[in-house]
């Protein structure tokens, strides 16, 4: 018996039974969950920028008293948590969660309620972080090193609020990642072998596995911290068998893995954009895919690169250096292949490509300076100076702001049905680029030449860093404006952007086969996938069929002699 096409029920324009917000809040659909994460991430980005700007106002002149030390440390801690746990990670994971199921031609996810719970936990984490602001936020810094976080040194609730908030968010990320791992493992369209997987979806696989590994490490550390603080634990307390260094190991495994996750996300998005906007296939898929996986493994193993001044054995330092330097190979491969993909193509310089190029530029600066921090002897000089601040910001702003915004501009038409304003995007891009360079290049100089220390609430006149800090502050204000422009652009384009249609960029992956925005079930029919570029195959097939039928029609209309 041959399979017969099933009849389809079409119900257009029915009214939802519940208000939109209730629909959104209770939906387990991956698109709704992804939208919550992405919108939330942009909101927290704005808050994080306000905190960064406040810190930069404090650092505008030497020995400023705009913020007192405690307030500064609170801003620093909030900024770190907001930027990493409530902007960079949810933007990456949210876009993975929205796009990857579409890219693999799935009609949903494998464990939708688990993912929904994950997003709810993340929202709860955000609420706790800023509810903590109402009484006392944490004062312990971006990665709050034990034993400063122990009850004896910070006795108010700040650290508890921080740990709860970050813990909830991380648990949420782990849940979302488990769902992504399961979905990408089991729900790929027929014919979509691993080797044909779109690179962004592959980045989602790698990142999700990474989060499943590193998330619990941080959760364990946070649990120990909470036991220490509230139940007389001694995990990180010195003296009675505890080890302050244990916190550093556990937390750096997580933070280093997160750094890699953000870069893997950015490179995955850039790979999609580079292929779509140069109308060329990826230069070498296999190498890029293997490199992304290698970055996740080797990068996370380099966690002790952050501990080169700590009392650990020299052998461990060499191990960290070896792992960090080994990263040159996969990162080099990825960047080489991305540039080679664009070479020889026909580049359409639209906003997504512009942001993607900015991302490669900024990430390469960040990674190159991170190399210096990996050489043990050099790290003994430049570690914990503003040079490190600048290196991290170049890589992570490159990854999550440039890379994230590239992805946002690229998939915005899919998510909303409308494209983001092109002119505003261009203005925003150049403003961010100028802001980033002005804001953080001076910190490189202040750190490596004058040794200005990291995280300090003030500096002293006559130490040669005043000019650098003034320029850096101005740069951050420009950066703030630039990023704000993109957020505004996104808000206004949601309703008022140009109609995009289902495939505005001529993409080659399956998400462009769905409507914009996609129906709740994503696809009416699923095509068989025969290559890494399924949509191109479909276009060619449709084109061929049209041509044939036209030829037939032309033949038939010939007068018969």
């Amino acid at each position: 018996m041959s399979p017969s096409p099933r009849p389809e029920l079409v119900a257009e324009g029915f009214t939802p039974s519940r208000p939109r917000w209730a629909q959104l809040a209770t939906s387990a659909d991956h698109k709704d969950v992804g939208r919550i994460l992405v919108c939330g991430a942009l909101g927290f980005l704005f808050i994080a920028l306000v905190e960064l700007a406040l810190m930069r106002i404090q650092l505008l002149v030497p020995e400023n008293t705009f913020l007192d030390p405690v307030t500064f440390n609170r801003m620093l801690s909030l900024y770190g948590a907001s930027a990493i746990f409530f902007f960079a990670l949810p933007l990456a994971i949210g876009l993975f969660y929205y796009v990857a199921p579409l890219q693999i031609g799935a009609r949903g996810t494998a464990l939708p309620r688990l993912g929904q719970t994950g997003a709810a936990l993340w929202v709860a984490g955000g609420v706790v972080l800023y509810a903590g602001f109402l009484f006392t936020p944490s004062e312990a810094g971006v990665n709050p090193l034990a034993p400063l976080t122990e009850k004896a040194f910070l006795s108010n609730n700040g650290v508890d609020a921080w740990a709860t908030s970050v813990g909830l968010a991380t648990l949420g990320f782990v849940f979302l990642s488990i769902n992504l791992v399961a979905t990408l493992r089991t729900m790929r369209a027929p014919g979509l072998a691993w080797r044909r997987l779109p690179v962004f979806s592959w980045a989602a696989v790698v990142s999700s596995w990474l989060m499943v590994v590193i998330g619990p490490v941080l959760l364990a550390a946070l649990t120990m911290l909470m036991i220490d603080r509230n139940y007389d634990g001694i995990f990180f307390a010195d003296g009675s068998g505890g080890a302050p260094l244990l916190w550093q190991h556990l937390s750096w495994i997580f933070f280093t893995g997160t750094y890699m996750l953000i870069l893997i996300f950015a490179f995955g998005a850039i790979a999609e954009i580079a292929t779509a906007f140069s109308r060329k296939p990826l230069f070498n898929r296999t190498v890029v895919m293997v490199s992304l996986a290698a970055i996740a493994v080797v990068g996370t193993l380099a966690w002790m690169q952050n501990m080169l001044t700590a009392p650990i054995g020299i052998g461990w330092m060499y191990f960290a250096m070896l792992m960090s330097l080994a990263l040159i190979v996969p990162f080099g491969f990825v960047i080489f292949n991305l540039i080679a993909t664009m070479a020889g193509g026909t580049l359409r310089m639209r906003a997504p490509l512009l942001f993607a190029l900015g991302a490669i530029f900024a990430i390469s600066i960040g990674l190159a300076s991170e190399l210096c921090h990996s050489l043990v002897a050099a790290a003994w000089k430049v570690k914990n100076t503003t040079d490190a601040t600048a290196a991290t910001h170049f890589a992570l702003i490159g990854g999550s702001v440039f890379g994230g915004f590239a992805a946002l501009h690229y998939w915005f038409p899919k998510m909303t049905g409308r494209t983001m304003g092109e002119n505003l995007a261009r203005i925003s891009f150049w403003t961010i680029l100028v802001g980033l360079l002005l804001g953080f290049v001076p910190l490189f100089l202040a750190g490596s030449e004058q040794g200005q220390v990291i995280d300090a609430y003030k500096y002293f006149a006559g130490t040669g860093v005043t000019t650098y800090n003034v320029i850096a502050s101005i740069g951050v204000f420009i950066l703030f404006v630039g990023i704000l422009l993109t957020i505004l652009n996104a808000i206004f384009s949601r309703e008022g952007g140009a109609e995009a249609g289902h495939d505005p960029w001529g993409g080659e992956t399956l998400e462009w086969f769905a409507l914009s925005p996609p129906e709740p079930h994503n696809f009416d029919i699923l095509p068989d996938v025969r290559s890494p570029r399924p949509l191109r195959d479909i276009r060619e097939a449709v084109g061929n069929r049209t041509r044939r039928s036209e030829q037939r029609a032309a033949r038939e209309s010939q007068p018969v002699a």
Partner: protein
């Protein structure tokens, strides 16, 4: 630095050369294995080279300094051991003869000094960039820094790990003096401490609050 320039130049070149306005059809180019192997070989070579250089320079930085002729005679065979303790938000230095000083460390010139870093509360980083490497003072675990210097003078330093409220004000100074002056300083410091101690004991014995 070279890497940044290379990536930027490549980006700019590609963008200028292959703008769609030029109207050429995209070449559906795929890379062969051989090219990727070559790229991989270059990258691996570069990484290996940096690793070897890293070890060489680190070994150099770890070399034990020797005490010279102008240095402290008693530190000839073994470096002068001084304990540095980080505490919120002050550095304390303990000298071999039992004397101690806060904020200011005095060391003899041209002498190998071994600083044993320890913390009594939270993690600190001892940072006198012109003199020695940066190193963490973590409670419960001793970190060692070896240095010697041939110039007399004062060196400014600070702390490089967020340690709480007055972190930015937790500074230190290392004064490098001749061995004689060092001996004199340590003696005087010890006497001062002893006399202060005696005074306190005396006050308590007389029933007064010190």
């Amino acid at each position: 630095m070279i890497l940044i320039v290379a990536v930027t130049v490549a980006l700019l070149y590609v963008v200028r050369r292959f703008r769609s306005e030029r109207g050429a059809a995209p070449r559906q180019l795929l890379s062969g294995r051989r090219l990727q192997f070559r790229v991989g070989a270059v990258l691996t070579f570069f990484a290996a080279l940096l690793f070897v250089l890293g070890i060489v320079f680190t070994d150099k930085a770890r070399e034990k300094p020797a005490t010279g002729d102008a240095g402290l005679a008693s530190a000839d065979s073994e470096p002068l051991k001084i304990k540095a303790t980080g505490q919120q938000w002050l550095w304390r230095y303990d000298y071999p003869n039992g004397a101690f000083s806060y904020y200011k460390l005095v060391v003899p010139v041209d002498t190998a000094v071994e600083l044993e870093l320890l913390s009594t509360d939270v993690a600190h980083t001892w940072n006198v960039p012109e003199l020695a490497r940066k190193a963490d003072a973590v409670p419960g675990k001793t970190n060692r820094v070896l240095f010697s210097t041939e110039d007399e003078g004062a060196f400014e330093g600070d702390s490089a790990t967020l340690s709480g409220q007055a972190y930015a004000a937790m500074r230190t100074e290392v004064e490098v003096v001749s061995p004689e002056e060092y001996e004199a300083f340590v003696e005087a410091q010890q006497e001062d401490i002893q006399s202060a101690q005696d005074r306190v004991v005396e006050l308590i014995e007389n029933g007064e609050t010190p």
